[in-house]
Symmetry: C2
Subunit: 320 residues, 2 copies
């Protein structure tokens, strides 16, 4: 029996969304800078339901929960549905390509893709800042913290700055120049909670000044399309020295990548993935070789992605 209040105008019945991987903590920009990758992407199909609630169907082998309150996409969709009481429910089928625990925003992709998809079904009534807030409920399920480091670039695309998180996330999209990104995911586990715990609660004022000089330089380099300045600014004197010890091969990958011409890079999110930025594809391929050689020598299984910064974020690829 159709719900009499359920009337969605100018909208589709079903959508397919590509939800990209994202890199948070862009070297010096710990907790504030992140960007969206052109690949890998999760694929999500959403359709409105006439019965209330959220239905999750996993189409991959990751064994993620299907109970909406325990599922990242589910929690984000439930938060969004609370804002549209006239809409009863939604079904989402998820085929994840972004491996959970890889450090390239797997949970954020599920949350961001879900809310972008539902928003399309609702006639795009919500703004990007609102979508970020809904999606953060998903991140809360994944990590216990309602952070937007990966959500913001997932929804805005490109490179984003989160100037501040309170009272609400202040997301600033940064119009970056074309950049090639080489990402390596060594198959080791780094728990976000461990990566958080290892951080010092206090830092020296001198290091903090160096860091905010670099953040300023990186933002300016991106907006001015000044590759050399981007490269000089990709320096982290606070988090990387501590966290990099959790990641075998870090130093070899970083130094080797710089040696073959990469602008710079570091830990993606809280790891274990590492990313390197390059101005051209040939350099990004040389970085790929450095990464492969390093982890083959260490005898560690790994995946490598050679991709670009994705200026668009989550994309509706099909409607019906």
């Amino acid at each position: 029996m159709p719900n009499s209040e359920f009337s969605i105008h100018n909208s589709e019945l079903a959508v397919t969304v590509h939800a990209p991987a994202t890199v948070a903590n862009m070297v010096c920009g710990f907790d504030v800078l992140g960007f969206s990758l052109a690949a890998p992407n999760d694929v999500m199909h959403l359709r409105l339901l006439e019965q209330p609630g959220v239905v999750i169907i996993n189409e991959d082998d990751f064994g993620l929960p299907t109970e909406p309150t325990r599922n990242v996409a589910g929690a984000a969709l439930l938060a969004m549905l609370r804002a549209v009481p006239e809409v009863p429910g939604v079904e989402v089928r998820i085929r994840k390509a972004i491996r959970p625990g890889s450090g390239i925003g797997s949970s954020a992709a599920s949350a961001a893709g879900a809310v972008v998809g539902l928003n399309q079904l609702l006639g795009n009534r919500f703004s990007k800042p609102q979508l970020v807030e809904f999606a953060m409920f998903g991140e809360e399920v994944a990590s216990g913290v309602r952070h937007a480091d990966n959500i913001a670039p997932g929804i805005y695309g490109g490179v984003t700055l989160i100037r501040a998180t309170t009272p609400t996330p202040d997301v600033v999209p940064l119009d970056a120049p074309p950049l090639f990104v080489t990402v390596v995911h060594p198959q080791i586990e780094v728990k976000t909670s461990d990566a958080r715990q290892i951080l010092k609660r206090q830092v020296s004022l001198q290091d903090a000044i160096r860091q905010w000089g670099n953040v300023g330089g990186l933002v300016a380099g991106l907006l001015k399309h000044d590759y050399a300045l981007i490269g000089r600014s990709l320096e982290d004197v606070i988090v990387e020295p501590v966290r990099s010890i959790l990641i075998p091969g870090f130093r070899e990958v970083k130094d080797g990548s710089r040696a073959v011409g990469a602008l710079g890079g570091g830990i993606s999110g809280s790891g274990p993935s590492l990313f390197m930025l390059s101005q051209d594809e040939a350099t990004a391929r040389a970085v790929e070789t450095v990464m492969r050689d390093t982890y083959q020598r260490l005898g560690l299984e790994h995946h490598i992605y050679l991709t670009t910064i994705n200026p668009l974020g989550c994309q509706i690829v099909e409607t019906a």
Copy 2:
């Protein structure tokens, strides 16, 4: 007797330079962001000498030293002359309008104006980064530290970011939108050394992250000409809470200025001057009234400057 090696081509015999006041430590941008003011300006006349050394002639009542090694302009000129052994000497007459100890870059104006003037006499053979380095020898005389916080905006004009100071200052000019600046100099003394000593050597990681989010936001706001973002980013959770207690009237001026529409502002350099940025002149005038009322009520003598950001820095205004 003319020195046989002394041949300067394409150059003038004498120049007049306007050397502007500058604001360092642009709220969140402690030690990294600064800008140049359209007024006040020191006026400096320089001419090459055939006898070796630097001759200082003070044309104001500030009683500054005339011995070159103890004079800010003198030390900067001596450093520069060491790089041009074929040039024997230079005379500089200085009429300062920027009161020493005011916190708006009085010493930097002397140093920057001197090297810009001498560079013109030498046919502009030195680059801006080189001029910054010469002028920093002047700052060393003034404060014991070879810092570039005021030198960089004095030489580049506009708003500058000093991304890093080692190995050499990495100065990034930021193309800011038009901004009105109201500066008040209450006639109290705040020693730079005291203002340094009061700072905490350690800061919390949480505050540091908030600060570098704001630095990123301020740089983005300036480059994107986004006044609202500039306003939101003018927040300092690290230095201002400590240093503002040294400046009577700080809270009244800041809150009152925001209430009449200023984008924001704070302590200029290490004080005692305060500055506020506004998008239009009417607001900057309303800020002037807030400042005047505050210091009249407190019974403190004060100077107020209502000016703009000077996109040019030190300027050659006359050659002969």
